[in-house]
Symmetry: none
Subunit: 199 residues, 4 copies
DNA sequence: ATCTAAGCGAGACGGTACGTCTTGTCTTAGG
DNA sequence: CCTAAGACAAGACGTACCGTCTCGCTTAGAT
């Protein structure tokens, strides 16, 4: 994710990659154990067996270290199943996969809260994740229109908000358990909603 | 919202209602100025011209004081426009109204994060807001089925997640501006998605 | 010694005098155990069973907390034995008494070093101790001249430097043990040196 | 002063003498600028344009690097003016010369403080300076007794403490300015004090 | 007309985490 | 084996808040 706050110089002693591994492990285990709010930089450093300076050399804040070690994007390739419905189901399932892990459940709400007050980090989040996901959806919708499945110009953001939002809310606001068919049912609902709007 | 941590006794000096007003004003102004994360109980007390004990006598935590002074539920009466589509549009608009205010934008992500690690507060949130909203949706769906608009049994939670989630994500994750038609378009999409599923 | 960095207000909860006692005890015991250089504010707070804020509310730095709890002035009354020699011996003994305690031996060199780079604290040290001691010596010399023991005008600072310096150097630079007669012999040497100069 | 912690090996690349010069200059300038307490090894290395390892290869601590680059002994030859009074005046003037330089004023109190908690360095300081100075005084007193100026056996340490202490205290505790006659007046006072004691 | 319980603003209390700094060691590439 | 650069583990720094408490005082209803 290349979240490092300053790229390591080529001169001097190189950064120890083992520290990165240890930090990642510490963040993941602590997140699940104590939750985002009770996660502290001190505890991460201690659990990782690393000095605080080593941690702060890599990440400027709790939000950064969690972001870099927990969040994964939803793939680079847009799904291409041959139908709008299939593509949205596939994407819904990917999003469920990303958000349903224990670490993500523990991390994401707190992360979102911290992003709210941190403009630079927000931009990186936006660039690394949101914009990428939006591009996938735009691609899916473009292909559907090319196929003749959709007539009108569709608001990509509305689809994005519906798809991501339904998963987010199911898992993190309503805190319902992730069923096997969750991504499928959400993808279907959005696809049907679009088809209704288009006809 | 009756979030007070202990009901005031009938004996002794009664609580000063002006303190409640001052606290509410301080919370609202500070939330917009510094955001939820940087909001502190100390600052609320100072801004309100109130001792910390007075604040803690009313609210046990930042989450509570913000919850009680910012969050409003989406009405008690289910919308009844005569059609599923109309009802969902109406509910979508109510949700947009609640979440689009500057104070709500500043408060809600942080609040959600704190709820995640605070089971008792989570239960109150659940009872006061989520369950109530869910009941509205169940009522809307029941009426639609009675009218013959829907055949199948619909998952209320899925509708809830789709409707609330789309608004939440649009405003608080994608951080897009709230257009006048936002609630309407989201309500339509969900209604059409359900109709598609039902046919 | 009134070294508090800000006088406690009359409003609000008053300061707990037991904290002062606990801090004083912690400083004294830690000084002897680990020495001034290895003494830390963290350790003082921990040993005293006191929060760091409570410590910093009273003292702005290690130098202040040590100064206030270790250093004692050499009495307010000038010795008056009836002779210059007797007065200087008496004063020399007082200075030895102050500087020979284990806590003073551990504290004074480090304290002097920190005073060197802290002008405000230096001024307080100067006012509280140096100037007071100088006044005692001036009084002793004035009486000796009145008695006819001294003819010339004597440089008070030179006497001060000789008397204090000999004790300081014996104990803290040469690190020789404080014999019972140390103050007496130093007082004698200075008195004889002055008499020689005066004749 | 030969404070190097390990003598440079004869094999491999020889040590760069320019590094020593740069370190000495950096120590002297930084001492005067920021004082002993605020002097850091990092800053010395940076100012000298030298790696920290290069610095630590030569000196084990701040005390050592300052000691080696600031402190000078008071001459190897005992003064021999033909009289006790003249010899002590001469020695007093040498001590004033050593301690009155801006670098010495900045360095000596902090150095003394660090010596207090560092036994090995204390021994080297003792050997390199204190013992040497004491030997000079012993020689001066021996010659005075041979000349018949003194009858009794004089405590060399008392003379040492008086002479060194008066200068130290004048300059570093009372922080009075070094007058031209300072060494002379102090030497006189001590000489007269001894003569008084001897008669 | 007290008495007494609970309210009030102010601010000290013991703690904890913050992000920075310094220490002394170690690891790189290069002379 | 030296050099400059800089990462490393450790831990103290002084600050900011936490949630509790203690102070002198006010405001009521109950006696």
């Amino acid at each position: 994710m290349s979240m490092e706050i300053s790229e390591p110089s080529t001169r001097g002693r190189p950064r120890d990659r083992r520290a990165d591994v240890a930090i990642a492990g510490a963040v993941r285990s602590l997140l699940v154990e104590v939750g985002y709010t009770n996660l502290t930089m001190e505890a991460i450093a201690a659990r990782a067996g690393v000095g605080k300076a080593t941690l702060y050399r890599r990440y400027a804040s709790k939000a950064e270290v969690v972001f870099a070690n927990i969040v994964h994007d939803s793939g680079v390739q847009a799904p291409d199943t041959g139908s709008l419905r299939g593509d949205l189901i596939e994407l819904g399932q990917r999003i469920v996969n990303d958000l349903a892990s224990p670490a993500a459940v523990a991390a994401v709400p707190g992360l979102l809260a911290d992003l709210t007050g941190d403009a630079p980090l927000w931009d990186r989040f936006q660039t690394a994740l949101t914009a990428r996901e939006r591009a996938l959806i735009a691609e899916i919708l473009r292909r559907a229109r090319d196929r003749g499945e959709l007539r009108d110009v569709i608001d990509v953001d509305l689809v994005h908000a519906s798809l991501l939002g339904a998963v987010f809310t199911w898992l993190l606001i309503l805190r319902l358990p992730p069923t096997d068919s969750l991504g499928e049912r959400i993808g279907e609902l959005v696809a049907d909603g679009l088809r209704g709007a288009a006809s």
